[in-house]
Symmetry: C2
Subunit: 232 residues, 2 copies
DNA sequence: GGCCTGGCATAACAGCGTTATCTAAAACAT
DNA sequence: ATGTTTTAGATAACGCTGTTATGCCAGGCC
């Protein structure tokens, strides 16, 4: 005796509208009433489909992680693993700058309508790092890194770039030490810090800058989520 | 023809109560009604004294910057400028971990009741860095750093440690790469990244760890703001 | 001592997330 | 095809939020 099923289009539409609102007008535009109004439904739709605003926000966070992973998946392994790992860093920043509000929610920046990340959410986020860890392993195997702990190296990169991106989005980085300047210096510094030579690191950082546009920036921002009829 | 003056004790009491609420119960406990109730006044007190919740939050942010500067002022210059600058990093993290919610507001992490930092607020925050820039200059003069741009070095340190602290407060850093592990590795890595040798950096990082407790942690958390009668 | 200004209490307003209630539509059983 | 069952989703209310209009009255000046 199966009951009435919820309209799957409603669910997708709600997420899309919410994501659009977050990206377009920021966190304060994200209200159940506003979303429902734009979807032409009532606020109850948010509760039947997601159990509340937190559930809807969580759905967006997961899509944000998927998007980041999408960017990461386009970083092709090459003979220069250091250029590869720096490109991961560039991809990370590109994702954050492209979806600033979503990024803030994903990594604890914005506290949205009482939403807070669960341990599972964080695990999902941390899992995205595994691609970087693998790349760090290749850097170590290639003798470019002094450190033997690939996971630790990945975490050093992650935390450092996350900090830069956070302050960049918070408009804390202005001339002469603007985000671009600090970012480039930091990338080289991080590579040298974990064992690469200044010359080799500089070359790899420059090489990764060349690869950024073709391998990451030109990628479709959303790798087509699996639902049908994503339009309103 | 001067009118009635506002009670200066009310103003201090409101800030103190708000700060206590933020530190003790987090951002969601910060409501005008709650603060007014605990102060034994009405919500209007918030408006006459601060023009709204944003003004009160801004007041707390400024006190947060003052507190950070207080910690920084206790880092004594020594013959090992690299140990000094690393100690600034430790002091920064100590301040953030001691006042996690306030820290989140200060650097754009939490969007509190529609509060957002102004350019002036950020300038205030950035100004705190000047002590670190000065220390970086000494490191360069001592021949420990390759880079010639002290301000850039300070920004690299700042962004990197800010990122670590943010993810630490967001509970993103768990074993085996917990916050302590990543922090120590990052400190050394950062020094090496800007030009120090691995051996010298390791020594200075260890030395700064020794100095942390006496020079920073034992400091009074609040250098007694100038208002009278801070108790409730 | 009276005046006048503005701090603060009261109460209302518009918004929020959430929940109780109810109708009606969808899916299965017959 | 009809009946039964179950829940999606509309409506409206509840308690909360920041904010504001109103009014009282305590205080500093003439």
């Amino acid at each position: 005796m199966s009951p009435r099923r919820s309209n799957p289009q409603t669910r997708s539409a709600l997420v899309d509208i919410a994501a659009g609102l977050l990206a377009g007008e920021g966190p304060q535009a994200l209200s159940a009433r506003r979303i429902a109004a734009e979807a032409g439904s009532s606020t109850m739709a948010v509760y039947t489909n997601f159990g509340g605003m937190s559930g809807l926000v969580r759905e967006m966070v997961y899509e944000g992680f998927a998007r980041l992973e999408g960017y990461f998946s386009h970083v092709a392994p090459t003979a220069d693993p250091v250029a590869d790992i720096v490109l991961f860093g560039r991809a990370y920043r590109h994702n954050a700058v492209t979806n600033p509000h979503l990024y803030a929610v994903m990594f604890g920046g914005a506290s949205l309508a009482g939403f807070s990340l669960t341990a599972e959410d964080r695990q999902y986020g941390r899992y995205t790092l595994s691609t970087v860890v693998e790349c760090a392993t290749r850097c170590i195997a290639a003798g470019r890194f002094r450190t033997g702990d690939a996971e630790l190296v990945a975490h050093q990169l992650w935390t450092a770039i996350h900090g830069l991106v956070t302050l960049e989005l918070g408009e804390y980085l202005i001339d002469p030490c603007n985000a671009d300047v600090v970012f480039e210096a930091q990338l080289t510094g991080l590579m040298v810090g974990v064992g690469d030579t200044v010359e080799a690191a500089t070359r790899s950082v420059a090489e990764s800058r060349r690869r950024l546009k073709t391998e990451v920036e030109d990628m479709l921002p959303d790798p087509v989520t699996d639902g049908p009829a994503r339009g309103v």
